[in-house]
Amino acid sequence: MNPFKSFHIVKRDVLPWYKAWGVRAIAIIIALIICGIVTTITTGLNPISVYGAFFQGAFGSARKIWITLQNMSILLIIALALTPAFKMRFWNIGGEGQVLAGALATAACMICLGGKLPNVVVILIMTVASVAAGAAWAFIPAFFKAKFNTNETLSTLMMNYIATQLVAFFTVVWEVPKGSFTVGIINQSTNAGWLPQIFGSKYLLSIIVALAITAAMFVYLKYSKQGYEISVVGESERTAKYVGMKTEKVIIRTMLLSGAVCGVAGLLLVGSINHTITTTINNGQGFTAVMVSWLAKFNPITMIFTSLLIIFLERGAGEISMNFGLNQSFADILTGIILFFIIGCEFFITYKVAVHKKKEKIANGKEEK
């Protein structure tokens, strides 16, 4: 008898949360073991020191811990930004472009206004400009999605490349020195437009902003009327229309919010962390953030952990590839493996495999005879 015919798949009732997280934890552990094996094969390192090196890379010294937390906070902000759109089933994979737009606006303010206006005013204008730029970048796909149902996955993607080329254009316009194709540190001597350091730490600002946005987003999605509207539109656009919600308005408003928060990430990247602008300043985090958000099941609090997991992998794999003279992309491979496992394990949370007991008995009975 064909063993594959003797079971079928049934949808589960809702699994208790601790069991669901248990399944996910098992998936992550299996994935980490496989990552260790892959690392051992490529580097010849013994498996235990692989994990040692991972921790060394992410939490090896006070400075490394701060950088890990800072990277995590930026990724977290972008993931939070995308979340309301995803809850609405609007696949905003344009985080990259929206962050770049915000970053570009910040850099423009720093270069054009720095030194000419009091620093407080410059920073205020920077903040407003970056938020507006991010929102504007999200508005274009949102408007056409709401009006004509234009495929948002592709339109947001194209907006990414348009933003990248725009940044490349301004990089050449602003380049210092001429012909270097880099902007260099903006206002290095005057520090005009640099966001303030909090308690003398240059890392703390992004972390605080990230935590504040996490809390705000959690409340917004869970307790506000607009958050509720987002879930209804996401569950069923027809229901939303039937109960009298203006879905077009909800889509555009949510995307404006999404883009605005991405703009904040751009502001922090340029104003607080790098003080310069390049086309790769965001380093593909707009895409990674999609997965951070999805892994956390769109829950802002859980996103703290998922973003930490991804950054931990990135920094750990970065350390390993540096030690062994391997390519930085090693981290992407490990991230991919972990993602595959977590994506796959969702199946065991939603469905269960039911064995056909009756048929088995018959089969057993035949064998006995």
């Binding site: 798949i9 050449v172 390519n327 994506i343």
Partner: protein, 332 residues
């Protein structure tokens, strides 16, 4: 002066990776799977071929004999296997385990681009070979071998005959795909699966089998685009991230070509042209920055086309109805 005879071949050469990706994704989407992992698959297809060719060339250095048939077949086979594995991962997750297609696709892209860049950057160190960089000149020569009489046929030869075999294969595969999709029973079943898996299932079509088959085939075709790029276009030199965003453009082309591989042929040539048009717009040395703006053209055009096609909203130009949704028989 604008030289059209020189421009068209360059546009066509640019269009081939796009066409492979586009044809592959059309076949995939016809089964109802929206595979956003195509960029990753194309990287894997490219690097698998490179690894195969690299291993073969290294072996040839030791033994001393080089067989050009093997030099083509080994990378080709490696490339197909590499992209097939990617396709199987995607299918297992989305069809068997019913995972979200967008997230799976993005994870595949991260993974695939990571594999490409990692092995591209570390292959020499990992294999312990004694060469400065990956330059597969001999293999590339076999891939890019042109028709012998192309050179002495004037402009006709330059425009139509001056390409490696993978270029012609791209066009042949696209035409075959169009014929199979519209004229055969297999194509009809495949379209049924993409439009309404429930109906197809009721009619006795094995939905999972069709989805697996179409997606894996689509991935293998797309992977050839990566192979063509590195072996023919880039003359066997792998450099990280050089393939760029062609995978994403290929996915956008699917919408541009309204899920028809024949339209895909013209669309990809048009985009191949747009991709290099910035080289032809004259800019003085003082205005170098505008070159960066011209590079924006293909994306702006894609965006406008996307919007226009959605505004016209014709019934026959719509995506497969169940695109992006996993099928579960017991759900309704």
């Amino acid at each position: 002066m604008f030289d059209i005879v020189a421009f068209i071949p360059r546009a066509i050469v640019q269009s081939v990776p796009l066409l492979y990706g586009c044809t592959g994704e059309i076949i995939t989407e016809k089964s109802g799977n929206l595979n956003l992992g195509i960029p990753g698959v194309m990287y894997v297809g490219g690097i698998s071929g490179v690894i195969g060719a690299f291993a073969y060339e290294q072996a040839c250095v030791k033994s001393g004999n080089f067989n050009s048939v093997l030099a083509v077949l080994i990378p080709l086979l490696c490339s197909l296997i590499g992209s097939l594995i990617m396709g199987l991962i995607y299918c297992y997750l989305t069809v068997s385990l019913r995972a979200n297609q967008n997230v799976t696709g993005l994870a595949m892209t991260t993974f695939g681009v990571g594999i490409g860049n990692f092995f591209g950057g570390s292959l020499i160190k990992l294999s312990g070979a004694d060469v400065p960089s990956i330059a597969l000149a001999k293999t590339s020569e076999c891939f890019a071998r042109k028709l012998p009489f192309a050179a002495n046929m004037g402009w006709f030869g330059k425009i139509f005959l001056n390409y490696g075999f993978l270029c012609y294969a791209a066009f042949i595969i696209a035409i075959l795909a169009a014929v199979i999709l519209t004229k055969t029973r297999v194509g009809l079943h495949l379209r049924a699966v993409g439009e309404s898996p429930t109906t197809a299932d009721a009619a006795g079509i094995n939905v999972s089998k069709y989805k697996y088959f179409a997606t894996c085939l689509g991935c293998m075709i797309a992977g050839l685009g990566g192979l063509y790029y590195v072996m023919d276009y880039a003359s066997g030199v792998w450099s990280n991230d050089a393939f760029g965003d062609r995978g994403w453009l290929a996915i956008a082309l699917v919408i541009f070509s309204i899920w028809n591989p024949l339209v895909g042929i013209f669309a990809s040539i048009l985009f191949g042209g747009l991709y290099i048009v910035h080289l032809y717009i004259p800019t003085g040395m003082d205005y170098m920055e505008f070159k960066e703006l011209y590079k924006m053209i293909p994306y702006v055009v894609t965006l406008i086309v996307l919007i226009l096609t959605s505004m016209r909203n014709k019934r026959e130009n719509q995506p497969p109805a169940s695109l992006g949704m996993s099928y579960f028989r017991e759900e309704r």
